[in-house]
Amino acid sequence: MQPILKLENIDKSFPSVKALNRASLNVYPGKVMALVGENGAGKSTMMKVLTGIYQPDAGLIEYQGAAVQFRGPKDSQDQGISIIHQELNLIQELSIAENIFLGREPTRYGKIQWQQLYANVEELLQRLNIKHHPRTRLGSLSIGEQQMVEIAKALSFQSQVIIMDEPTDALTDTETDSLFEVIQQLRDQGQGIVYISHRLKEIFRICDDVTIFRDGEFIEQKPVADLTEDLIIEKMVGRSLDDQFPKADLELGEVCLQVNNLCGNGVVDASFSLRSGEILGFSGLMGAGRTELMKLLYGDAQIHAGEVILNGRTLELHSPKDALTAGIAYVSEDRKADGLVLSMSVKENMSLSSLAEYCTSSGRIEHREERQAVQKFIDLFRIKTPGQNQIIKNLSGGNQQKVAIAKGVMKQPQVLILDEPTRGVDVGARQEIYQLINRFRHDGMAIILVSSDMPEILGMSDRIIVMCMGKLSGEFSREQANQELLMAAAVGKKAEELV
């Protein structure tokens, strides 16, 4: 079969790095091509070459059988290549219809032809099975639905090639399912799709072929059927991963955290306990109240009722400061939004919570002591940075995440709450984070692991609590737990009903 879009031997260099080295990618009509690789493997650069944001140093781009050169995103979009970015490019305050035809509204004498606009959009929405009126304000839609609007926008351009960059990262499982239905529908209509994802399970579910990149180089293109998950990982990292979830058995310590009948915004009557050295997983669908519960424990939301007892002492939690002082640290699920100060350096971010320990009583920073402490964690966490004063924005996602975790650990907490600690983190760094988590528990820390990644939570936790609509809907030991049970509890079913 002839590819509809073909990029061959693309080179692209930047002052300090060669981002692409003879990289190739083929997109076939009516097929879904997965593009995988670690962070920094060159996927994003390839997409920027493909959409004309970057011009390649060398190589050939062929589209519909002819060599082309894209002058910019608008050019490639006009020619039928659409990209749906991880961060959605939509305007919250405008309606669905206004978003889809932004800048291309059908007009007559300068007046927008609303009837025609709404009719066009209505048709698109029906095709994608989106049950919203075109005049609905975009901001009132869920993230998943907004993503569907992006896809509708891509379709409105009559796109032949649609690129999706980590589309399921912010989606619930049901939303993911309906996204996959749409992808299948598009494929059957003959569109070529590029699907970029860290989630290998999804690739086996939805993709026909896989292209693997490593360090800016093309490694392999193969049908999905000829590959296994382990094989893909091996080719991505260039080495074999013996065990994705390194887990050492450990004698658990005493109960250190006891939560009794905790109620707050989005959380109803939560009670559980946690032993030192234990990893307690929290599973559930998005919006089940997991992050809300963690914010209660961390003093960042108001506790309406119930109590939190740490080492026999009932805590007064009115602010994150109270929680940190008591010995509870929290690593946020969204490091860009509220985990890190992106304009500050690695050092300044890492020591932000524990700066008082490196200060004199008058508040003067002891720079030497701060540097030494930060260096210890950079070495321990294997954080790849040119120096402590590097602005954190310039680090890769995995290294940023390590700094965010180090910030919490530096405070030497008794309880460490990790909310989606590997989201947007590549496979190699992911495994290093798992190893770190195991190391913390050996040091006697108690860990709460909130994750939407099923294999991760099953692989790492000693015990798993599932939440559904603000309530704890199930608790499983490591031995009992499996994906079906967790999912059943997550949707509020009793395990027996499922079988």
């Binding site: 920094g40 360090d215 100060v341 932000l352 508040g363």
Partner: protein, 331 residues
């Protein structure tokens, strides 16, 4: 090491990234300093009267008031805030100072009371921003308007003279005196910048100020009391306005009810010229000093060149616009 993606070279980790002197990045970083030096060199050639000790000291003394206020303004702007009330705080605390001196209150005590009033007036803005969750622009617009009103009530719309006592003479030294041949206001300005630099770069509070401006949510979740930091920066900004008011009042031996009109804009201009981002999280106190000096020397040069004060405003506007465009272009 069994780490991943080895595509980027890793420099030894304990070596901090430092910008080489006179490299392109350095030139860009120090562009306001270069602009200031260029300005001084060019004007020295055009006007023979410019490069004299008297003229330079005179210009520095004139600049000191704006520069001191700009120190407080820098801190507020680094937290992504803004303080429009500094001119009004200056007028009111100046009126306090003048009436205290006129009533023959001891100079030291009068100065302390005046500084304290500035601190409290600034804290009011800070409390409205922090506890009231009001946008800084609106909050300080409110305090600005209110304090202008209070000043008019307090002074009855008339200047307050410090009188002709020995006390008043001692007080006026703060604005007109010399130490080691250098005007006192310049000494005050230099000390305030030294303290501001120390606070921002070497204390925990300074670090928290940058963090707050960079990302308020992340700062709060890092266990920092962000409301406290907000109240601190607006208080310090009020304090610097009060310090400036003492210099002005001492120099004129009287407090004008309309003193400090438009000073907030000059202070903001100095901060922006110095490279501090209005978006918060980024900025250097020494940049602000350079920014204030650029405005000061530009005014002085245009005066020496007999340019009408109407055109001076246009010149100032052009310089600020140019600075911001250059800064954005290279981001």
């Amino acid at each position: 090491m069994t780490t991943n993606s080895a595509s980027t070279k890793i420099v030894p980790q304990n070596q901090d990234t430092q910008i080489k002197l006179f490299s392109k990045a350095w030139l860009f970083q120090e562009k306001s300093l270069i602009a200031l030096l260029l300005l001084i060199v060019i004007v020295s050639f055009i006007s023979p009267n410019f490069f004299s000790v008297d003229n330079i000291l005179n210009t520095l003394r004139q600049t000191s008031v704006n520069a001191i206020i700009a120190v407080g303004m820098t801190m507020v702007i680094i937290t992504a805030g803004i303080d429009l009330s500094v001119g009004a705080v200056l007028a009111l605390s100046g009126a306090f100072a003048a009436s205290l001196i006129a009533q023959e209150v001891n100079v030291v005590l009068a100065v302390i009371i005046t500084l304290f009033s500035g601190l409290v007036l600034g804290a009011m803005s800070g409390i409205i921003v922090a506890q009231g969750k009001v946008q800084p622009f609106i909050a300080t617009l409110v305090t600005m308007t209110a304090l202008r009103g209070v000043t008019m009530v307090f002074t009855d719309g008339r200047p307050i003279s410090t009188g002709y006592t020995e006390n008043a003479d001692m007080f006026s030294w703060l604005g007109t005196g010399y130490m080691l041949g250098v005007p006192v206001p310049i000494w005050i300005m230099v000390s305030i910048f030294a303290i501001g630099w120390y606070l921002l770069n070497h204390t925990r509070t300074g670090r928290h100020i940058y963090a707050l401006g960079g990302n308020e949510d992340a700062t709060r979740l890092s266990g920092i009391n962000v409301n406290r930091i907000k109240i601190i920066v607006y208080s310090l900004c009020g304090l610097t306005a009060a310090i400036a008011s003492i210099i002005i009042t001492a120099r004129l031996s009287s407090a004008q009810p309309t003193a400090g009109l438009g000073y907030e804009l000059d202070a903001i201009a100095a901060v922006v010229l110095g490279g501090t981002s209005l978006m918060g999280g980024r900025g250097r106190i020494m940049g602000t000093l350079i920014g204030a000096l650029i405005i000061g020397f530009l005014n002085n040069a245009l005066n020496l060149l007999d340019v009408s004060s109407y055109y001076q405003m246009l010149a100032k506007a052009s310089v600020i616009l140019l600075a911001v465009i250059v800064d954005n272009r290279n981001k």
